[in-house]
């Protein structure tokens, strides 16, 4: 099920000639990713702000049935699945210069190169001027079709943070962020804006679905323009944020796909934490978005059904160049510089072994610990490491990954799904064990000296 948020228009706009959209987003796969839309009912005005799957460009498109009111599309592509992007769309139709009426900023920088650039006429009232059909106004994470219904297949897969809409005022990115000493665009956690009648700020904390304060779709702008949340997954609020990016499965390094677009041989969902197998020999494998050169790292995995589901750890260079996009047609996590675990069998750098391991079954939570300095790997099931493994003590590892490249977590879901908990669990956990730095939420205790795979830990331990 795909997550989306809905709300009716909240009132007559403060000034329909101006609005500002500011949102942080992180994509999880290449599909049509709709950030914001508005009811496109019969004779009504709709808007769609999205990243397109066909070319990974970002499009700001307002329309009435049959024609565009404005359509601005970047030449910039958005296909870094390990990064957060900050988008600001500033609409001001009163501007005398057409190109100034719709401005798009990415990470604080105004876009100036466009694949399409059709601007609104001067003083054109934006979509907020239109009374929505059937009380369906704002839609976040999906698209309304021409019938005014949620358009199946056009959702948003990934993460959004600090979703701000301002009615009646345009703001530049400096209101919402700043460039730090390292030249990185970082968020302002408490931007000061005048929201206007239809303005809102969604922080997406908590998990309640109804349109109410304190729930996932709560408006914290002060307007109480709350949204209803639909199809929330398990633990929809996460700590994967612009200031601390957690690993997810990376579509760009998916195994056995020369043109992976989310449909061939498998897919990614669950905000990039759910690897979906394509079944049989065509099933693809996935690697984590973050690779590590040093430090000790921990993650948990859960397979809905087992079959030939595999987990593992591998040398990212070997994975990408040999098994990944454009690589050989390997069907398993098996080969040079890779250690795989196929329920009962270990594949240790091309050598299979049946010894030692505890098998995992449906519903089990599997653990993988990596010491990237020694390149040792431990596997565990439900809190017990196989072969009396002791990651904290550095002993009884399953094996040592050969090669010299950075290491990544791997999985191959075969004909089922693999859920990964790199710190933001997409599956229910009874406990909430953080690492020693307070990051992540795991079912089992993180071994001493091991950490969740996120950028704040990378910054401390070198990654």
């Amino acid at each position: 099920m795909s997550t989306y948020l809905t709300a009716d228009r909240f009132g007559t706009p403060t000034n329909a000639k101006k609005y500002t959209l500011a949102v942080w987003f992180k994509l999880a796969r290449n599909t049509n990713n709709y950030i914001l839309s508005y009811n496109y009912g019969s004779g009504n005005i709709g808007i769609a702000i999205s990243v397109r799957s066909s070319d990974q460009t970002l499009r700001v498109n307002e329309y009435v049935p049959g024609s565009d009111r404005y359509d601005v599309r970047t030449n910039r592509v958005f296909r870094d699945y390990g990064a957060w992007y900050h988008l600001v769309v500033a609409y001001d139709s009163a501007q005398s210069t057409a190109a100034d009426r719709v401005k798009i900023y990415i990470n604080g920088v105004q876009e100036t190169s466009f694949a399409a650039s059709s601007y609104p006429s001067q003083d054109l009232d934006s979509f907020t001027s239109a009374t929505p059909n059937n009380n369906k106004g704002f839609l976040i994470g999906a698209l309304y079709n021409s019938s005014g219904n949620i358009d199946a297949g056009n959702y948003f897969t990934g993460y959004m943070s600090q979703f701000i809409f301002v009615d009646g005022t345009t703001y530049t990115p400096s209101t919402f962020g700043s460039t730090n000493a390292n030249g990185v665009w970082i968020p302002n956690a408490s931007p000061s804006v005048t929201y206007g009648t239809n303005g809102f700020k969604l922080e997406m904390k908590n998990s309640g679905a109804s349109a109410a304060a304190g729930n996932f779709g709560a408006d914290t702008s002060g307007n109480n323009n709350h949204f209803t949340s639909n199809n929330l997954g398990t633990n929809p609020n996460t700590k994967d944020s612009p200031t601390n990016v957690f690993a997810t499965w990376n579509p760009n390094t998916a195994f056995r796909s020369t043109s992976f677009n989310g449909t061939a041989g498998g897919s990614i969902a669950g905000g990039g934490l759910k690897a979906i197998g394509g079944g049989g020999a065509v099933s693809i494998g996935f690697a984590s978005t973050i690779a590590v050169n040093s430090g000790k790292w921990y993650a948990e995995f859960k397979a809905a059904a087992t079959n030939y589901t595999q987990f593992g750890v591998g040398d990212v260079n070997t994975w990408t160049n040999t098994y990944g996009i454009g690589g050989a047609s390997k069907a398993q996590i098996y080969g040079a510089n890779v250690i795989g675990w196929d329920r009962t069998i270990y594949y240790i750098n091309s050598t299979s072994s049946t010894s030692g391991g505890t098998t995992f079954s449906d519903g089990d939570i599997c653990q993988i610990a990596i010491d990237a300095d020694s390149r040792k790997v431990w596997f565990g099931v439900n809190g017990t490491y196989n072969s009396s493994g002791n990651p904290a003590g550095g002993s009884n590892e399953i094996g040592t990954v050969t090669g010299t490249g950075p290491l990544v977590f791997l999985c191959r879901p075969e004909s089922t799904n693999v859920l990964a908990n790199f710190g933001n669990s997409p599956f229910t956990i009874a406990s909430g064990n953080a690492d020693a730095n307070g990051y992540g939420s795991f079912e089992y205790a993180v071994p001493s000296g091991f950490y969740a795979l996120c950028t704040k830990n990378l910054g401390q331990y070198g990654g």
């Binding site: 990713n33 929809p236 759910k274």
Partner: protein
């Protein structure tokens, strides 16, 4: 020795009677009185009364005694009238080595006295200036390069003087080594050590806050270690959820009670730590 007994000796003529000649001793028998009522006795004074006493009353007039302007009867007593100043205290009681005004409280100051500070070693340092305010208050400006305790000596122009006890202490005031201004930006809700402030001095130092911001649970919600200057918190900013700058003033006080204040600030930041996951299944 012949003896003449008479009841009265009266002059034959004139107005005087002469008894004896120069060098003679005229004895009046003990218990007898020499009465001069209505008559005058001349040449009778302390130098030629060989024994016995002359009644005070007999000396009134030409025999008056005056000491420091006060009449004193012979055989009476008088307090010698010296008017000495006194010193009851100084403010401040502790000063630095640099030129500093000290207000001296006392009595009987006469404009303008001389004032000196006398160290425990006996070294005397005259005041740079002395300002007479009243008979009970003068202000002396001292530059005393050597730390220690000092006596204060005040001498009026008439020579009357007083030396106090060791009532003035010279000591270096504490000095901040942590620069004023921002102590940093701290994540909201942070728990741990926020910052450390430091100062130097010639005795034990104690840190405190003169405002009510840093250690106010409703504001910065920190604790200040008075001995070490370490600022800690278990929840920086308390219940605040938005970036806030907390301005406050800290004071360092040395063992002599000298203080130095400095203004600081701490700013809370709230990183964007949450996101919503859109499953997109």
């Amino acid at each position: 020795m012949s003896e003449i007994k008479v009841n009265a000796i009266k002059k034959r003529n004139g107005s005087s009677i002469t008894i004896g000649e120069s060098g003679d001793t005229i004895t009046i028998t003990g218990g007898a009185a020499l009465s001069g009522s209505g008559a005058s006795l001349t040449a009778l004074n302390g130098s030629n009364v060989a024994s016995g006493t002359v009644a005070n009353a007999r000396l009134v007039g030409s025999g008056a005694i005056t000491i420091n302007g006060s009449a004193v009867s012979l055989g009476g007593s008088v307090t010698i009238g010296e008017t000495k100043p006194t010193v009851t205290g100084v403010t401040p009681s502790t000063i630095p080595n640099t030129a500093t005004n000290v207000v001296i409280a006392g009595t009987n100051f006469v404009s303008v006295p001389q004032v000196e500070a006398i160290s425990s070693t006996g070294a005397i340092t005259a005041a740079n200036t002395v300002t007479f305010t009243s008979a009970t208050s003068i202000t002396a400006n001292f530059t005393l390069p050597v730390d220690g305790t000092y006596f204060i000596r005040v001498e009026n122009n008439d020579g009357n003087a007083v030396r106090s006890g060791a009532i003035l202490t010279v000591s270096d005031a504490p000095t901040w080594t942590t620069g004023a201004g921002s102590l940093g930006t701290i994540a909201g809700n942070f728990s741990g050590t926020v910052a450390t402030v430091a100062a130097t001095g010639d005795s034990t130092l104690a840190f405190s806050e003169t405002t009510n911001v840093l250690t106010n649970a409703s504001q910065a919600n920190c604790s200040l270690n008075s001995a070490t200057g370490v600022i800690t918190t278990t929840d920086f900013g308390g219940s605040s959820t938005s970036a806030t700058t907390y301005n406050f003033t800290l004071r360092v006080t040395d063992a002599e009670g000298q203080t130095a204040d400095r203004a600081f600030s701490l700013t809370s930041s709230f990183a964007l730590e949450d996101s919503g996951r859109f499953d997109g299944d």
